[in-house]
Amino acid sequence: MLTIDNLSLTIGPDLQILREVSLAVAAGEAVGLVGESGSGKSMTLRSILHIEPEGSRVTGTITFDGVDVRGLTGEALRQMRANDVSMIAQNPHAVLNPVLPVERYLIEGMHDAQGQPTKTAKLRAGELLEQVGIDAVDRVLRSYPHQLSGGMLQRVVIAGAIAGKPRLMLADEPTTALDVTTQAEVMAILDECRHELGMAMLFVTHDLDLAAAVCDRIAVMKEGEIVEIGLPEQLRDNPQHPYTRALMESRPAGLTWTPEGGPTS
């Protein structure tokens, strides 16, 4: 469904962020993109939605359902962003406009972006929040971002991301900015929503165990290049690239991750 082919990205005269990244995500498949900070994981995601920083030079092709998304502009690009591909970023407090209440965030996505009538959007906003496990729906809808915790706000972002029933979810370290217990809850909700809607997911994280728990395949990224792609078991039992081996060895001893229970030992 999504095919990234020879994607390279350069900022300024010679700062190369991505080097010929090639990666495919099939419908309904979850692919993990694992690597340390600055390895180009986020930039790969952002290139798909055309939200890389201004002044970046991008070469290579990205196709979604056979359509060259890097070639899209104007209304076609807007439609793709609104209806087909959603993104969840790392810090939910930065994603929501600090001066607008949560309800406006959800309505903006459904009404202004997807074109649903305001009335429908208002009704669905509450339903979506229930779907991501929020009890005090009315209070949360009326709240401003600074009044909510990171975990609560990330659920709001997930609710907004699944509102248009997209076929591909781009998750950029969605739990990194949250505390450990909340991380597990948010991850479980995201995983559940994905299975319910049958969405494909490109999941960026620096946590190899977390990726192994929720993804069908994992790509390991280093300095803007994908060094190894494989099934989670393959990477765990028989890593081919020295960097993957180093990643496997550097994780906290004895800690493994399960979608239901969070970190267990």
Binding site: R81, N97, E108, Y144
Partner: protein, 313 residues
């Protein structure tokens, strides 16, 4: 509500402290009021003594300050030493001109400064470069020089506006005060345009603006709801500070255009050592500055929900 009350209490504290400073400064300034009153004539020590007694100049400093302060609180600013007129009446006669001048200049700052700033920040390219150049010019030209240039072009050269006077009636006043207000607002408009432009640039790349685009919100709407709206937060603070500063700046312009406002009154009063008038104007200025700042803070709290929470604690 408690926020407003607390701020008002703070404002009163500032007024008392600053009135004390003003009073002390006049006390310490060279020259004395009785020397002005006798206007250079040689008078006997008895006469001087009588004058000092009449104006209570021999009382201890704190007693004089206290008497003056209580009178001011009763609305009595004393009498002008120069012509015995009631200072309150002198101020009341001139306040409308200054207020109108400052209001017009404030509007010009908001319309020109913020307007051009938004234009430069959102358009870029040639528009941006032209506005940047204009803002540099506005920055660099001092108010009195701007006043002279505006006068020579629009009053003397083209004859569109009067050279001096404040006019009668609303329309005539606006006509008379347009050039002075422009001269007064020019440097501040330049600063505000610059800051607006920078603020817009920053908000354009902020995560919530970028993510709104990534969610498929149309660029026009992202600009309005995320970029321009949020960039107005820092801009409103700067605009407020500059509007408050206009009152002080209006003196130069009033003098240049010979308008009979508070500024001209102050200049004459200082030249004549008219202590009562200078003190009264200083207090009015501090009060106006404080009130404008309070209004700006209230406006800020109304557009940024994060401020309300902090004040409710």
């Amino acid at each position: 509500m408690t926020f407003i009350l607390r701020r008002l209490a703070a404002l009163i504290g500032v007024l008392i402290a600053s009135s004390f400073l003003v009073f002390a400064a006049m006390y310490a300034a060279p020259g004395s009021p009785e020397n002005f009153l006798v206007q250079g004539r040689t008078v006997s020590p008895e006469v001087l003594e009588a004058i000092r007694a009449q104006y209570s100049l021999d009382d201890p400093f704190l007693v004089r300050f206290w008497n003056w302060l209580t009178n001011v609180l009763h609305g009595d600013f004393g009498r002008s030493l120069a012509n015995q007129q009631d200072v309150g009446d002198l101020l009341a006669a001139r306040l409308p001109t200054t207020l109108m001048l400052v209001t017009m200049a404030a509007l010009i700052i908001i319309v020109l400064g913020v307007g051009f700033g938004i234009l430069a920040g959102t358009r870029g390219g040639v528009v941006d470069k032209i506005i940047l150049l204009g803002s540099n010019l506005g920055f660099a030209v001092p108010t009195f020089f701007a006043a002279l240039i505006l006068m020579s072009i629009f009053s003397v050269g083209l004859g569109w506006f009067p050279v001096f006077g404040s006019g009668d009636g609303f329309i005539d006043r606006v006509w008379h005060l347009t050039l002075p207000a422009l001269a007064l607002a020019l440097p501040s408009s330049a600063v505000v345009a610059r800051i607006t432009r920078t603020s817009i640039r920053e908000e354009r790349d902020s995560e919530h603006s970028v993510m709104a685009r990534a969610r498929g919100v149309a660029e026009r709407l992202v600009m309005r709801r995320h970029v321009i709206r949020n960039s107005m937060l820092p801009v409103s603070t700067i605009v407020g500070v500059h509007i408050a500063g206009l009152i002080a700046g209006s003196f130069v312009v009033e003098y240049a255009f010979t308008l009979d406002g508070i500024g001209t009154l102050l200049v004459h009063a200082v030249q004549r050592k008219d202590f009562a008038v200078v003190q009264a104007i200083a207090i009015v200025l501090v009060a106006a500055f404080g009130i404008i700042n309070l209004l700006v803070d209230l406006f800020y709290a109304s557009i940024d929900p994060r401020v309300k929470v902090e004040t409710n604690r």
